[in-house]
Subunit: 359 residues, 2 copies
DNA sequence: GATATGGATGTTTGCGTAAACATCGGGGCG
DNA sequence: CGCCCCGATGTTTACGCAAACATCCATATC
C-alpha cells in the first residue's frame, strides 16, 4: 500500500527491511545481501557459493569479494532445509570413560570430517533401557542424517527402539548384525591369539579375568576363551569377573594371587590388567616368572606398565573409519543390506608373558 | 491462476503435492500433514508442538494423536532457520588422546544435554596454526550457536582467527582471558599443593618432569613449580621435559634415575608419572623410599600404579560444566565480559610420596 | 540476415516452521 | 440490546537457500 512510490521493486524491499528488521539485522549477511553488493542475483551468489560452473570468472571474483566484505557465511539451517540433509552423523555412546569408545569416536569424527560431515554427540547418562530409548527418541528431532551407536551393552532391543525413518544406523561393538550394520573388532580372533600365545609358551591352562556381565565385548571374549581352551583340550578354570576398571582388576587380582596353580591370566582389558599386576606384585607373585598376564586393547600406556604388558592390539581407528564408511554407503545407495565387519587384531608381545617355571 | 476450480484452497494444494513430490514424500511427516490428519491448521500443530497455551484441551489431544499416528518429528532445520538458532554447541579440540580433554568433553556433552543443547565435535587433526584456523573457518558454516575451544596449545592467536560474528566462545585451558571467557583448572594452585606436599615431607628440593613446550597447561605448571620453590627459598633443579606420554616419561625417567641427589619429582601428568615409575623401578630406585613421585590429573588408573600414585586431582567435570554455563550465559545476555574462572584442585595422597631417607 | 546454439544470468518457487496478524463466536457489562 | 473483549483457531508471510525454469545476448551456421 505504501510501496507505490518506488521506481522499481528493489528499493521498496529494502525499505521494508529497514522499517522492521533493523534491530535483528545485526546477524550475519544473507545471500541476498551479497547479491546486492556484488550487483548480481542471489542465484549467482548461490552458484559461486557451491562452486557450480557457468559463472563468468569476472563475476565470480566480484561475488567472492562481496562475500568477503560482508563476512558472508552460508546458513546451514536454510541449506539443510532446502537440501533435506544435514551432513551430520550422530554418535550415541555411553560415557566416554572407556578408551575404546573414545578412540573409536575420535576416528569417527576424523573420518566424518574428511567426508564433509560433522559429528553430533549423544551421551547416554546411564546405560538403562529407558535412557537408551530416550536418546533414540531425542534423536528424531535432531539434525542428523545417520547414527552410529557405540554401546557395548545388551540394551539394543530393536523391538522397543524406534528409529526415525530414513536414518541409517551402524553399530559398533554389538551383535545386532541381523538388523543393523555392525562393525566390530574381531573379539574372538584376538582372544584366540592371546590364549594360544599362552598355551604355546607351555602353560597348562589359562585363567580369565572377564569384563562385566551385559557387555557384548566381554561376553564374546569370554566365550572365545572357553572355546579355545576346549579346542586345545584343556579345562577352563572358573571365571573371575571385573567391571573394566583397574580397581576391579586389583580386587580380582588379590583373589587370583591366592591361587598357587594359576600361571597364566588372560585379562579382558588393559586397565584391569594394570590392577591385576599391582595385586600380584603386592602378594609377591612375580610377572612373568610366576604368572603370565596378557591384556586386551593395547592402550598407549600398556608399554609402560610394570612389566610392560603383552596385549591384544585393537585397531579402533579402523573401526571408526569403517563405521563412517558404512553409514555413508547406506545413505547413498539406500541399500539396507546388513552384516558384520570384523576388524582384525594384532598380538603385541612385551614382557608380561613367559613360559611357566618348570617344576 | 489455475486454483480457481477448487471449492476451497485446500484440495488444490493437496493436488499440487501429489503431482510432483510423491516420490520424495517418503520422508517424514510435516506439520501440514499432522494438521490435515488432526483436522486443524498447521499453526495449531505448531502451538501444540511447542507447548504453547491457548489450545483447547480436546484439540490438543487430537493433535497429539495425529502426531503419534504419523510419527511426526519437528524438522530441526526448519526450526533453526525460523528461530535463528541451532541449539547446538561446537567443541573444537585437538585429538581426544588426553584424558583431560575427553573428560571435559564428556562433561560438556552432559551439561549441554541438560540445557537442551547438543554438541558437535570439531576435531583438529594436527595442532598447527593452519589447522586451527581451518577448523574455525569451517565453523562459520556449521550449525552452531557457540563454541568451546579445548586447545591447550599456543595457537590461539586471535588476530588471525576470524570468529563468525555472534558466536560465543569459551576457552578451556588457555590464557586468552582478555579476549575470551576462559575456564581452567587452577594449575598454579594444584602445582603449589604438590610442591608444598613434597617440601613438607622434608625434601630439599623438587625436580620437575614437565609437559611439552607450547602447552599452556605445561607452561603454567612449570612456572608455578619454579615460583613455589623460589618462595620456599630452594634452588630449582634443571627442567626435564616430556610430551605427556608414558613413553616420554620413561625416557625422562631413565635420566632422572641416574641423578643420585634427586629425591622428589613433580610430574606434570599421570601418564608420564607411570613411565617414570617404570624407569625408576628398572634402575632399582625404590618409590617412595628413594624417590618420591607426584603426578597431576588423577586419572582413574592412578590408584593402581606401582605404587599407587599421589597426584593432584583435576575436576574435569566441573570445568566442562562451567564451560557450558559460560557459553549459555554469554548467549543469553549477549554480554561480552570476559574473564577467567579457575576450578580448584585437590591433592590425593597415595603411596608414591614419603619423607626422604635420612642419611 | 535469419536461426540455432549455448553460456551467463535472472526470476519464481517451495522446503517446514513460527511470528504476526486476522477471524470468529460467545460471555460480560454498560 | 449492542458493544467490547477474550479465548480458540485460521491465514499470511518470511526465514535463507537452491532447484527448476526463464531470459538474454553473443557467436556460429546455413
Amino acid at each position: 500500500m505504501d510501496a507505490s512510490d518506488g521506481t522499481s521493486a528493489e528499493p521498496a524491499r529494502v525499505q521494508a527491511r529497514n522499517t522492521k528488521r533493523a534491530p535483528r539485522r545485526t546477524q550475519s549477511a544473507s545471500m541476498a545481501d551479497v547479491a546486492r553488493v556484488a550487483g548480481v542475483s542471489s542465484q549467482t551468489v548461490s552458484r559461486v557459493s557451491n562452486g557450480f560452473p557457468g559463472v563468468n570468472e569476472e563475476t565470480r571474483r566480484q561475488v567472492l569479494a562481496a562475500m568477503k566484505e560482508l563476512g558472508y557465511r552460508p546458513n546451514s539451517a536454510a541449506r539443510a532445509l532446502k537440501r533435506g540433509e544435514f551432513r551430520t552423523i550422530g554418535v550415541i555412546t555411553f560415557g566416554l570413560s572407556t578408551t575404546g569408545n573414545v578412540r573409536t569416536l575420535e576416528a569417527i569424527a576424523t573420518s566424518a570430517a574428511q567426508e564433509g560431515y560433522s559429528v553430533t554427540l549423544l551421551p547416554v547418562a546411564v546405560p538403562t533401557q529407558d535412557e537408551v530409548r530416550g536418546a533414540f527418541s531425542r534423536l528424531g528431532e535432531l539434525a542428523v542424517d545417520a547414527v552410529i551407536v557405540i554401546l557395548e551393552v545388551h540394551l539394543l532391543d530393536a523391538s522397543t527402539l524406534s528409529m526415525p525413518p530414513h536414518v541409517q544406523v551402524v553399530v559398533a561393538d554389538s551383535d545386532a548384525g541381523d538388523r543393523y550394520t555392525v562393525v566390530d573388532t574381531d573379539q574372538a580372533g584376538g582372544t584366540r591369539t592371546a590364549v594360544q600365545h599362552l598355551l604355546d609358551l607351555g602353560h597348562r591352562t589359562v585363567w580369565h579375568l572377564a569384563g562385566p556381565e551385559g557387555s557384548y565385548a566381554a561376553q564374546r571374549r569370554t566365550d572365545a576363551w572357553r572355546a579355545e581352551l576346549l579346542a586345545a583340550d584343556r579345562t577352563a578354570p572358573p571365571l573371575v569377573r571385573g567391571d573394566w576398571s583397574a580397581e576391579s582388576g586389583y580386587r580380582a587380582g588379590l583373589r587370583i594371587a591366592a591361587l598357587p596353580d594359576c600361571t597364566a591370566v588372560f585379562v579382558a582389558n588393559d586397565q584391569m590388567a594394570l590392577g591385576l599386576l599391582r595385586a600380584l606384585h603386592e602378594r609377591g607373585r612375580r610377572v612373568p616368572e610366576d604368572v603370565s598376564v596378557i591384556g586386551f586393547d593395547d592402550i598407549p600406556e600398556a608399554g609402560s606398565f610394570l612389566p610392560p604388558l603383552t596385549t591384544v592390539h585393537q585397531d579402533f581407528a579402523e573401526v571408526g573409519r569403517l563405521c563412517v564408511e558404512g553409514v555413508l554407503r547406506q545413505m547413498r545407495q539406500d541399500a539396507t543390506e546388513h552384516g558384520t565387519t570384523l576388524v582384525p587384531t594384532r598380538l603385541v608381545v612385551r614382557q608380561s608373558t613367559a613360559p611357566p617355571r618348570s617344576r
